[in-house]
Amino acid sequence: MDDTLATPLSPGAATVPPRKHPRRRTRVFAALRRVLVAPGFVLAIWVANLLAAKLLAGPGRAAARAGMRDWTWFDDGHRIRAVVELLADEPAIAAAISSSVVSAAVVAGIFSLLAAPAILTRLDGQRSLAWIVGAVGRELPAMLVQTGYSLVIRAVCLGLAGACAAGLGPRALPLILLLVSFPVLALDRARAAVVLDDARPYHPMTMLRAVGHVALRPLWWLSGTVIETLKLGVVIAALLLLIEAGPSPISIWVARAAGLAAVILSLWRVALAVEDRGANAP
């Protein structure tokens, strides 16, 4: 794919002063196009995810395999029983699996810090690998600080979401999703402001502006929430499908495909912030 589709994208974004965008509406599908014109970048992130997942799941897989020794479970009608017996008698398996999931969350957090500047610059149209990699180094301290601020917003939103869940039960799900997505979108916006719009990298106002920015754009907030929900739905559905299908060589590839979808959806969400660049410049 070439750049003919990506007309609004400007090369060397950081060297060109940010444009004042005349529009104020969130352009959801323009944001998606920013992702789709960078297939190599998407694939690179996906492959990194696949490798990390494969590595992280290695100890759990090996522990399960070792736990079965030379025996084999043939009875498809009693799989849960077999899994319970295996996990009960070989607690190392459950420990390895849970630690791999926790490690995945930590790796995901670190990746999100490191990769954010690269993702933002690439989605903004920058294609120079050196520039993209350089952005990671340049912006890391600011990413750390802004992420720190966002944790406060996240805590508030999660508290509110928890209160909704306690008060309204499962019916509050849409509200919970809106609240949970909000700090993610605000962080996207704050990062975009720092990386693309030269907002003050360490100032809390950058994050607060981002908060106001998202709060005042219902279409963004809503479409970001829908994207996040879709992503969650896709990965959970793949996991459930894998469990439902039982042992099968194919279903792990369904999960891997869902991983690709999750990467695209995440980038789409970030691209919403890139689409809005300049709107919140200092």
Binding site: A53, D70, I80, S112, I243, S266
Partner: protein, 755 residues
């Protein structure tokens, strides 16, 4: 437009959207909570406490031992019951007794150092006794109204003109029993009528009984006489953590004075109601041929009704859970259908199902004659395609109803042999599921993967089932060992259902029907059950031929030996597939001595011998010529071929099965061969291990206990394997599946959070 102007424009839109969402959610959330509690068409109270004799059969007169007349008033503020109790007790034994032991069960909750509380340390089934909410029963007077009257029943029901003869009485050292001393002994066949005055204070709901707000569950609330046995004398055990109850059958006339707005459920049928004073009502209940009387009162109960073959099914359910009433009713009917078919008719005309309110779970899951408390069905937010279950609430209903037979109707001594009630009931509960939903149905289904009745029983063997034998009195179980539940309930069920599977089900079913017929109103013991099982399942020597017809090679199941190990040994059976593989079939290549009398092989000409020796010497191998007494068979061409590459008829398959514990019993072994054929063999399980050989056949895999007949064996992962030399054994599916789940979960987390 300036930025602030733009913001001003946007704000109302955002606000409107937010408010809209909140309003939509709010209306959904609050819209349906203040509806009127539903009411259901009532089914009239049965006139008789027992079903007609043509349905329930004749009740032996010998079983009728003690009648009670109780007048009780509930003080709903103090949570106390003030009562007068009259009791007509007949001595049905040949013994003569001058003292009467009575149970004061409620005193178990009187203090921290009662025998019950010392074992429980304030906690029962995960629920704690609330601080300073002790319960007790205090007897203030005991008098003798009559000794051997012509008609004890009349003395019982008439208000006496005389107060009676005061009797000496006192609590025993352990206050859950008391002893009344009689002025003269009660001889064989004689009777006495006693009158007692008592006050019972209920604890806050704990260990089956007590109050919670307005809810009052009165179980084990009145002084109750022990059981006089012909051989063993008085049976009136100290109430302990694991010991339940044992009492004689008789009739009850009970008057309950309660606030008029309370909905009451009780053992038996209601035969009268009057209003003694403003705001109170006095209900008259009658129960016949029961061994206990319990009642419950709560103004919040909603009554729900059903009927099964003339049996009135009444549910007292909390408004919040009223939607579950139909599910419980369905479970109750399925339980009745299964149990009447297997264990004979249910003798009483009514059954009341009580649902304790939230917070009073300690009262849930307990059986009393014609009344039981169940538990609530779990409220799962997951859709049915993710999780289906028919265990929470439903199993409690099936289980507690099952006690109407094992505890209510058979009334074995639950202190001496708790398994005979709880364990046999748990066995019967599984069969209710089988009868209702087909052989070994799922109880939980997670994403289409079933967890079946057998799975659940077998898996519970992992959790303490090998720490104690089954057949021992309740007070021999140490709460700290945490074995009582798994051993008494599930292990008993596993022993019984394993035996049922091994014998082909029908003989076991026959045995249980015979046992049930013998046990009705008869206080059976474990020896009776074992005798019936051995007789029905075994031959004249108590053995069942698993394979063969009695000749050599017959594999026997000795039923009594199996029951001895299962009931009185702690060990559980555990088999292991020690080896599956193939080796080169045994041939006859090489030199063999010619047998005596056999003709010697013809000697080759001398020239041939010389040539062969010369050639052998030249190329450095042993010549094919030996001493005259030996003859040589050709070595086959595939001598150096690996076993995996040999033709199937050139290999000898083997399967080695081992026994890992001291429990010896037969077990099936399924063997699959290279040509796809499957063969099921039976190992008698007596030696430490056993090898099956299959000359001329290639074994591809083997499975010990392929039909999951041995519910007692929890550990089955080591029961099956591909042959070791199999050309390309597929990757182990279960661990691969777990590995895939791990990877997919890591991927979901990375993809879900990573950017």
């Amino acid at each position: 437009m300036s930025r602030s102007a733009a913001r001003a424009c946007r704000t109302p839109r955002a606000l409107a959207l937010g408010l809209g969402i909140v309003a939509a959610l709010g209306s959904g959330a609050l819209g349906c909570d203040d509806a009127e509690p539903p009411s259901f068409p009532a089914i009239p109270e049965p006139e008789q406490a027992l079903r007609p004799e043509s349905v329930r059969g004749v009740i032996p007169e010998q079983a009728h031992v003690v009648d009670y007349w109780i007048d009780a008033r509930l003080d709903e503020r103090a949570h106390e019951i003030h009562g007068t109790l009259r009791m007509a007790w007949r001595n049905r034994t040949a013994r003569s007794v001058d003292r009467l032991p009575l149970h004061l069960y409620m005193n178990a909750f009187r203090a921290e150092d009662s025998a019950w509380m010392a074992d429980a340390r304030g906690s029962h089934r995960g629920q704690n006794l609330a601080r300073d909410r002790w319960g007790f029963v205090d007897v203030s007077r005991v008098s003798l109204l009559a000794h051997n009257p012509a008609q004890p029943r009349i003395v019982l029901e008439q208000t006496p003109s005389q107060p009676g003869v005061p009797l000496r009485f006192g609590e025993d050292a352990e206050p859950s029993t008391m002893t009344v001393t009689l002025p003269e002994p009660v001889g064989a066949g004689e009777s006495v009528v006693l009158e007692l005055e008592f006050t019972t204070r209920l604890p806050q709901v704990f260990a089956r009984t007590g109050y919670y707000g307005d809810f009052h569950m009165a179980g084990q609330w009145f002084p109750k006489i022990g059981v006089l046995e012909e051989q063993a004398g008085w049976q009136a055990h100290t109430f302990g953590l694991f010991s339940e109850f044992y009492a004689d059958f008789g009739d009850y006339e009970v008057f309950l004075d309660v606030p008029s707005d309370y909905v009451v459920g009780a053992t038996g049928v209601r035969v009268g109601e009057e209003a003694p004073s403003e705001g109170r009502k006095r209900l008259h209940y009658r129960a016949q041929m029961v061994h206990d009387f319990a009642w419950v009162a709560d103004p919040n109960f909603i009554e729900h009704w059903g009927e099964y073959e003339g049996i009135r099914i009444r549910q007292l359910i909390q408004p919040k859970f009223v939607d579950d009433a139909d599910t419980h009713l369905e479970a109750q009917k399925l339980a009745l259908a299964s149990m009447e078919a297997r264990f004979g008719s249910y003798p009483w005309s009514t059954i009341t199902i009580v649902h304790a309110p939230e917070g009073a779970g300690g009262a849930g899951g307990m059986e009393y004659p014609t009344l039981y408390t169940t538990s609530n069905i779990a409220d799962s937010p997951l859709p049915a395609w993710v999780l289906r279950e028919r265990i929470t609430g439903v199993f409690t209903t099936v289980h507690e109803f099952g006690h109407q037979y094992f505890q209510g109707l058979f009334a074995s001594n639950e202190h001496a042999q708790p398994w005979l009630d709880e364990g046999m009931n748990t066995t019967a509960n599984q069969l209710v599921y089988w009868d209702a939903y087909g052989d070994d149905p799922w109880v939980v289904e997670l994403l289409g993967h079933p967890l079946t009745t057998k799975d659940l029983i077998a898996l519970s063997m992992l959790f303490g089932a090998d720490r104690d034998p089954i057949d021992q009195p309740a007070d021999r179980f140490d709460p700290v060992v945490e074995s009582y539940g798994a051993v008494t309930y599930q292990k008993t069920a596993a022993v019984m259902l394993t035996l049922r599977e091994l014998c082909g089900r029908a003989p076991w079913d026959r045995a249980m029907a015979r046992y049930a017929a013998l046990a009705r109103f008869a206080h059976p013991n474990g020896a009776l059950l074992e005798r019936v099982l051995v007789e029905e399942i075994g031959d004249e020597r108590g053995r069942l031929a698993m394979v063969g017809d009695g000749g050599p090679g017959t594999v026997w199941l000795d039923v009594q030996d199996y029951l001895d190990q299962g009931l009185r040994g702690a060990a559980l059976p555990d088999f292991r597939l020690l080896a599956v593989g193939n080796r080169r079939a045994l041939g006859d290549a090489g030199w063999h001595r010619v047998a005596e009398g056999e003709p010697l092989p013809p000697e080759p000409p001398q020239a041939v011998i010389a040539t062969q020796r010369a050639l052998a010497g030249l190329f450095g191998y042993a010549p094919p010529i030996g001493p005259s007494g030996l003859t040589r068979s050709e070595t086959p061409g595939d001598w150096n071929t690996k076993v995996a590459a040999l033709d199937d008829d050139r290999v000898e398959g083997f399967v080695v099965v081992g026994r890992r514990t001291s429990f010896r019993m037969p077990v099936e072994v399924l063997v699959e061969f290279g040509d796809g054929e499957r063969l099921t063999l039976v190992w008698d399980g007596q030696a430490d291990h056993h090898r099956f050989d299959f000359p001329g056949r290639r074994v591809t895999k083997a499975i010990v206990d392929p039909r999951m007949q041995v519910l007692l064996e929890a550990r089955k992962l080591d029961n099956a394997a591909w042959a070791k030399d199999a050309a390309d054994p597929p990757a182990e599916p279960l661990s691969g599946w777990l590995g895939d789940m791990d990877e997919a979960a890591a991927l979901a987390v990375l993809g879900g959070l990573g950017i």
